[in-house]
């Protein structure tokens, strides 16, 4: 759920004054409304209790509030046609019917009400069987042109996978593509999209994620062409993209676009956790097909991958799923098809384009030469995006490689690139609950644990970004039988880790950060609460002895706070080394060892071992066996975990 919101073109400076100009144009003479017909319609609407209907609530985004009434999630006063419309569905309905008799320009988009709120108009027209003779339909040229420009044939839900380097994108992002009539797989880049994002000013500062959580920004819809989104996610941020083609009827598609048109000129306060991109995309689906109940499934947070799973779970809604690999994935997959000798040539050419004159290159068949130059060009483009300070050098090299490539007069083969992790709808749910039991030193315990979000390195990896851990808000409670004590064993506020395997071509660093509380044995204290803040930077390497392993090492710093220490705290640093290994598709193990020395506060040091093993039973069920060792403190726990 990105807070960043790329929008269409930079023509801002020009288009805004245009709209201002439009405002100054007075509306043509307002016809005298047919008062008897107006009151007839209002009465009919009240008799049929339209203001209480689901569709009216969907159109105005009403939600039950704590006082038992309704409040709209829309925060722009101009979205309402009654002064009390935000909290009064009936008054808003009456105000809307009234406004439809006028040609006066309303809303932020400055159009007659029938055009500005065109979905409301068509819905009421059909519900109230409005007579065109008594309430004439106005032409909505701007809307008609927009619809013509979109040339919509169907809708595709797009999921851009998680991007840990930006806090606003760590859960992924969803938006819609409006597929055009006559579009082919090759030209879907030209389709427009519907994107919802917060408007974060350039000077928002480092605390903008906090502000984003509490609704400090306004969220807007925009319609950038798909090629800009592909560029952003595939080329710049190296995120895999999943496309879910949806099965809306022509009528439903029309409703979706009509409602999007209404929302295009309004705003909502953006809440990063709940009322985010994915949430508002679901609200468009609900109006398109009111039998879908989607947004009310989400209470505290709306995680993009959860919304994808929910959409996929609707019978018949998804027609087809397509994968669009990130540039990094493309390079990795192409490298797998190179022989050792070819790979060496590839590395040589990335360093020195003149290497194409080597005997070893020249005697390759022309198809292999083309293939090598293509993957080299991909890599140089990847480098120019990730190593910005040398971008111009890579660009120049790439030009030379492409010039050599263009001299081989054959088209590149269309390669099928497989993803490294499967599509998000196959992934486990966002939240996790576990029940466990185990031994600690000479005691036994039972444990209950719950985690709000999202994925740790030992969780089943299908559908999640490889080697990327994001844990937010988890707590575990234990009852120790011998000590007869029930206590909060562990709390995690944030625990993130990114392993970024390095090799001769990819040099990205790994990093981790953890803030929370755990239970330690220290000095005379057997079970003591300990606040932890830990962060580290390191490197990782991938191997394939068994199936896939990642070994890693971190240099790290840590600050602890506990009553167990005589000085109440200790600060120090050290290192962690470890390995993550897939034994089979269902079985994964992780082992780490750490040494930390604390020269500040309570002078001490710490040796820790961890060995964990997870077996996946089903998409949302897994079992784990974990062993934790610290100085004279041994802990074994077996748990069953359910994701939801």
């Amino acid at each position: 759920m990105t807070i960043w919101g790329p929008f269409l073109f930079s023509g801002v400076g020009v288009t805004v004054p245009l709209f201002v100009l439009a405002v100054t144009q007075s509306a043509s003479a307002t016809p005298i409304p047919d008062h008897s017909y107006l009151s007839e319609l209002i009465q009919r609407a009240s008799q049929t209790k339209l203001a209480e209907s689901r569709e009216w609530h969907l159109l105005l985004h009403y939600r039950k509030n704590v006082f038992g009434g309704y409040t709209s999630e829309a925060d722009d006063p101009q979205f309402f046609l009654s002064p009390t419309g935000r909290t009064d569905p009936q008054a808003e309905l009456d105000g809307t019917i009234n406004a439809f008799f006028s040609t006066e320009h309303v809303g932020s988009s400055k159009q007659p009400a029938q055009c500005a709120f065109i979905a409301r108009y068509y819905w009421l027209k059909s519900e109230l069987q409005i007579d065109d003779l008594k309430l004439p339909a106005q032409t909505c040229e701007r809307f008609d042109q927009w619809i013509a420009e979109l040339n919509a044939d169907s809708i595709t839900l797009i999921f851009a996978s998680a991007f840990l380097s930006n806090p606003a994108s760590m859960f992924g992002h969803t938006f819609l593509r409006i597929d055009q009539k006559g579009q082919t797989e090759q030209t879907r880049l030209l389709a427009y999209t519907i994107n919802y994002a917060a408007d974060v000013p350039a000077d928002a500062g480092v605390w903008y994620p906090i502000k984003g959580i509490f609704g400090g920004f306004k969220g807007y819809f925009s319609t950038p062409p798909y090629y800009l989104k592909v560029q952003e996610y595939r080329d710049i941020e190296n995120r895999d993209i999943w496309e879910y083609r949806l099965n809306f009827s022509e009528h439903q598609l029309r409703r979706l676009l009509e409602h999007a048109w209404e929302l295009g000129s309004t705003y909502f306060d953006y809440f990063f956790l709940k009322e985010n991109c994915s949430y508002h995309i679901l609200s468009l689906f609900e109006y398109a097909d009111p039998t879908l109940h989607l947004t009310d499934r989400f209470h505290a947070w709306t995680v993009p991958a959860d919304t994808v799973r929910l959409v996929v779970a609707q019978p018949g809604l998804v027609k087809e799923t397509m994968y669009r690999p990130s540039r990094r994935t493309v390079i990795q997959r192409k490298r797998e098809r190179l022989s050792v000798e070819e790979h060496q040539l590839f590395v040589d050419i990335t360093e020195q384009v003149g290497s194409t004159k080597q005997e070893a290159f020249v005697r390759l068949p022309i198809q292999r030469q083309a293939f090598l130059l293509d993957v080299t060009s991909d890599y140089l483009r990847y480098q120019s995006e990730t190593d910005k300070s040398h971008a111009s050098v890579y660009k120049e090299q790439n030009r030379a490689v492409l010039a050599a490539r263009s001299a081989l007069r054959i088209p590149s083969e269309d390669l099928k690139i497989d993803p490294f992790s499967k599509q998000p709808d196959l992934g486990h749910g966002t939240s996790r609950a576990s029940v466990g039991a185990g031994w600690r030193n000479n005691d036994t315990f039972e444990e209950l644990a719950i985690r709000a979000a999202y994925h740790d390195l030992l969780d089943p990896e299908i559908g999640h970004t490889q080697d990327a851990q994001v844990e937010i808000a988890s707590v575990s409670v234990r009852h120790y039988n011998r000590a007869d004590q029930t206590r909060v064993e562990q709390v995690t506020l944030v625990n993130m880790m990114l392993l970024s395997p390095m090799d001769s071509l990819f040099h990205g660093l790994s990093w981790k950060i953890n803030a929370g509380m755990n239970t330690i044995r220290f000095g005379r204290c057997q079970l003591c609460s300990n606040g932890v803040l830990n962060g580290g930077i390191g490197a990782a390497k991938e191997s394939h002895w068994l199936k896939r392993e990642v070994v890693f090492a971190f240099a790290e710093a840590e600050a602890d706070y506990s009553r167990a220490y005589q000085e109440d705290y200790r600060v120090g640093g050290g290192g962690t080394g470890g390995m993550l290994a897939d034994v089979s598709d269902h079985w994964k193990i992780m082992a780490t060892g750490s040494y930390l020395k604390y020269p500040l506060g309570e002078k001490s040091d710490d040796i820790r071992w961890f060995v964990g093993s997870r077996y996946t039973l089903m998409q949302n069920w897994a079992v784990r066996l974990e062993y934790n060792h610290r100085d004279r403190d041994n802990d074994v726990v077996f748990s069953v975990q359910a994701f939801f």
Binding site: F7, V16, S109, Y220, T223, Y227, R405, P411
Partner: protein, 171 residues
């Protein structure tokens, strides 16, 4: 006041000044073409503008409703669809220059196919278009580095003088 401007004002008076007409009046140059597009494509430094777009893309300067309801008329295009298509083609060439040059050298790709479609080359003849761009790669990219308009112009010329493409393309 230029002649084109007067014509436009007269036209507005006759047609009863629809909002979109008024929108168009906000643009200084009222000659044929897309107002915004003309400003952007004239003598401009390709890279500077490309950067500007990317800056605004990443800085996320979303303004209310400006990005919504985009059509030929809100972008200030006059004289119907032809200029709007040209405008979109230039915009596409500008914003996808890196992908396009890669695919031209490789003789295929979705960006290149999309460009061919915008330029009116029918799907069944796009393979010829791709081969042509591969052959003329160096000149096309040189032109493109100066400005996307120059690249599109060079492409149009190449299509117009191509034995097959000249016949089948809707130019």
């Amino acid at each position: 006041m230029r002649k084109g401007h007067i014509v436009a004002l007269v036209a507005m008076a006759i047609l009863g000044a629809q909002p979109s007409m008024v929108l168009a009046a906000g643009i200084a140059d009222m000659g044929p073409g897309c107002g915004l597009g003309k400003e952007l494509w004239r003598d401009q430094n390709t890279d500077a503008w490309g950067k500007q777009v990317l800056i605004s893309t990443t800085n996320n300067t979303v303004l209310p409703f400006q990005a919504f309801g985009i059509t030929s008329q809100t972008m200030g295009c006059k004289n119907g669809g032809k200029f709007w298509v040209e405008y979109k083609t230039n915009m596409f060439a500008q914003l996808n220059f890196e992908n396009l040059s890669q695919e031209m050298a490789q003789g295929q790709g979705e960006h290149l196919a999309s460009l061919a479609t915008l330029m009116g080359v029918p799907t069944e003849h796009q393979a010829e278009f791709f081969a042509m761009t591969q052959e003329k790669y160096t000149t096309l990219v040189e032109a493109g580095e100066a400005s996307p308009v120059a690249m599109i112009k060079a492409l149009n010329n190449a299509v117009a003088t191509h034995p097959v493409l000249a016949e089948v393309s809707a130019q």
